[in-house]
Amino acid sequence: MERKKGSENKIVSTICNSHCGGACVLKVHVKNGVIRRIETDNNDEPQFRACSRGRAYRQRVYAPDRLLYPLKRVGERGSDQFERVTWDQALDTVADELKRVKEHYGPASILHFCSLGDGHALHSAAAINRLLCMFGGYTSTWGFISYEGGAFSAAATYGTSRGSAHTGDDFLNSRLILMWGWDPATTIHRCNTPWYLAQARESGAKIYCIDPRYTDSAAVLAHQWIPIRPGTDTAMMVAMAYVMIHEGLYDQKFLDRYTLGFDKFRKYVMGCLDGIVKTPRWAEPITGAPAEVIYKLAKQYATTKPAALVAGIAPGRTAYGEQYHRAAITLSAMTGNIGVHGGSAADRSWGGESWGGDLAAFMGLGTKGRLPSPKNLVWENAGVRWNALKGRSANANSAAWVNSSMLADAILKGKAGGYPADYKLLWLANTNYLNQACQVDKTVRAFKALEFLVVQEQFMTPTAKFADIVLPVCTFMERNDFSSGGTTPFFGLVKKVIEPIGESRSHLWICEKLAPRLGIAKYSDKTEEGWLQSIVDDFAEYFHIPNYSELKKKGIYKVQLDEPYVGFREQIKNPQNNPFPTPSGKIEIFSQQISEMGNPLLPPIPQYIQTWESVNDPLAGTYPLQLITTHFRRRAHSQFDNLPWLRELQPQSISINKLDAEPRGIGHGDVVRVFNDRGEVMIPARVTERIMPGVVDIPQGAWFQPNENGADIGGCANVLTKNLISPAGAFCSNTCLVQVEKA
């Protein structure tokens, strides 16, 4: 903490880590306890510069719509009618409901989900997990909404995704980069990623973008844009594998030494299993990409080394998205690009751990850097899920859990629908779940069916409107925490800059106050700083970084690596001593584990499977356009949507190609109806050549705002998406058919 010109002025160095995909340094200028402005890292290189969202954070802290005190519902659920209550009243109510539901229905009836939000090591899912586990357990969730397809595939194919990601500066060693469904200019995917990619391009690397949209990343970084229909990425990858096999362009030595089951995949590609040879000509009508383009791309990729295939996690958020991630890993293995500088494990673009761990560790999913917790008794007594994998934790594999995408389904169906319990109480934190899960109308029905819903929030989101009790939480500027930069290696303390606004309080404070009300004596024997110190010191020892007291002095610790970190380097360098943690010790292109699951829609080798709601679905006669729900510059999911500085930058709109707009009489800026059987959104049209014909895009995260007819006028994409998961558990928000009409 630097002090400047008198004691009332200070500049606090902290880390913005707001579920945007990045983690960046903020320098917060404070005078008399009020944030005056926010600057970023302009110190030693590499600088970790924040984006527009971090720079606008002052408006978030002092937003006029910040929740300043606890609220209790007084009207019908969802009617947005609340009255102010004291913290004692709010906490008593929450505790009483937790006890009542536990006694009446058992602990499994308590369902809890905490997403990332602005949570870090301490004030996150781990704080609530500790409380609820001490209370006797609860139903937790499995499946990452962002990238379950990728997580499953890494666990099946590599046995793990720990240590799979390269540090961003390794792009400077790549000669060719495939940005597959990946727009890091928007999603950041770790601070400086687009900057490293720009430098790679300037040093001569060839960059291709495979995406239904001409993204900002494509526009700035790519030499060539290859438009592709949503949900067909696996088909293009399989056709690329065909080209490599047919032309003898794959690395047989690498496959022999490090992989299992390539022959089975080759048989599939060459048509030995189903009589269909998966040529580029086969993929052309599926993907919408000309066969010649696929052929050339395959050849370029196979003959330019090293090459990094970066499998964005968006194509994994489709039906059978796990096949796409498994196919990407297979291509990277066929080209021998795993474990080498400038290459890529190709498992997924974000969330794979690199040097020093990643955010997953802070969500209570890793082993280091979190609040400790006793075992969850609800899990203890359950078996494993049918699609559990050896490479994942027992907790993640538990049959007792509900997929995080399917909470509404579980609440509505319960035991009668095959779920392990009936769910009566839902506790949500760091999530605008109603807005962000597929099929809003179903979530509305589910929320109305609950006996009790408690929401921890900073703002009156569409989700909070349905709560029985809203607990106001503070932003990361108002508490102390710890964060890492992930694949951009740095660590630092997230420092409390100002006192909490209004009566808002931290996650830890809320859990500490609930504990005695739930009869838990020893929830916390440490102060906030005491917990932080123990978490950081535990983490520091493991990762050889400065301990808490050193970090407190330094604020931000930039790791100086001798060379860029390479994922799975040891496994490739010395496979005898470092086998992959799969059953065979190899990269499993064929997975016996998956084979034993016995689901034809989850094949043991990567295969293209036509999605539901594809262009070939009979439903396409009524709803002919494929909707994708992408990330937006000025939001991090649904966060930041309410900040005026950001709202004015870009209107929420639906992107539609002129070829689809003109026959519908739609001009740029016209308000259109976007609809299917699940709902309707009224939204302005952005007529652009930057999206392929047949595909429309509503950036996800705009807040659901139904009008008197039930149509959403807020631009919430999930009004339209379908609440259904892929066999491996992937969230399928990019598999959705709609029609668009001029309003």
């Binding site: 900002d216 510059r633 050549e689």
Partner: protein
């Protein structure tokens, strides 16, 4: 000496960080005033699309047209660095005058929504320059696409290209900027 901008159009991803950093630093509310803005240029037809961004503000012209347009000499070009600044006390206001806005081909003069709002615009963060720092937009850019310095030094460092997509160089005004422009020769301009 004339201070000016360098903008690397090949790097700009249109992320608006410069815009928001400027608003935060200069305490400008959401609304019509934006000392810095980013425009998107889209051309061509699917799948041959060309996209570029231009981050723009007052270009602190060597021969600014706003200065002779101002009837009360409220706009001043600083001798020491050529930065064009406004004396808001003397400014007559948008409705009473607004001559600077009409004179500037780059839409640099900015006005609030109130009646007879006084002109304001980019001042190149002269307070930061005095402290030896770069303007806030330069220090904000995650792609390191912006720079500021004496124009003759910028020309040596980055070359003397004075045109870019979305920008037309006015010989009469001599805006203080050099570019690394983004051009796509395949698509007719």
């Amino acid at each position: 000496m004339q201070i000016g901008f360098y903008f690397d159009q090949t790097r700009c991803t249109g992320c608006f960080t410069c815009v928001v950093a400027c608003k935060d630093y200069h305490n400008i509310p959401a609304g019509p005033i934006s000392w810095r803005s980013v425009i998107e240029i889209e051309r061509g037809e699917f799948p041959n699309v060309f996209v570029a961004y231009l981050s723009k503000s007052c270009w602190h012209c060597a021969l600014p047209s706003c200065i002779p347009a101002c009837p009360v000499d409220a706009i001043i070009k600083r001798k020491e660095d050529g930065v064009v600044v406004v004396d808001q006390e003397s400014c007559l206001g948008k409705e009473s005058c607004g001559n600077c806005l009409k004179a500037c081909p780059y839409d640099a003069p900015q006005f609030g929504i109130e009646l007879n709002a006084k002109m304001q615009k980019c001042n190149l963060c002269i307070d930061r320059l005095a402290e030896g720092k770069k303007p806030i937009c330069v220090d904000a850019c995650p792609m390191r696409a912006l720079d500021v310095g004496p124009v003759d030094e910028l020309i040596i460092k980055y070359g003397g290209v004075i045109e870019a997509e979305g920008f037309i160089y006015s010989v009469a005004l001599a805006p203080s900027v050099v570019f690394n422009p983004k051009f796509n020769p395949q698509i007719a301009r």
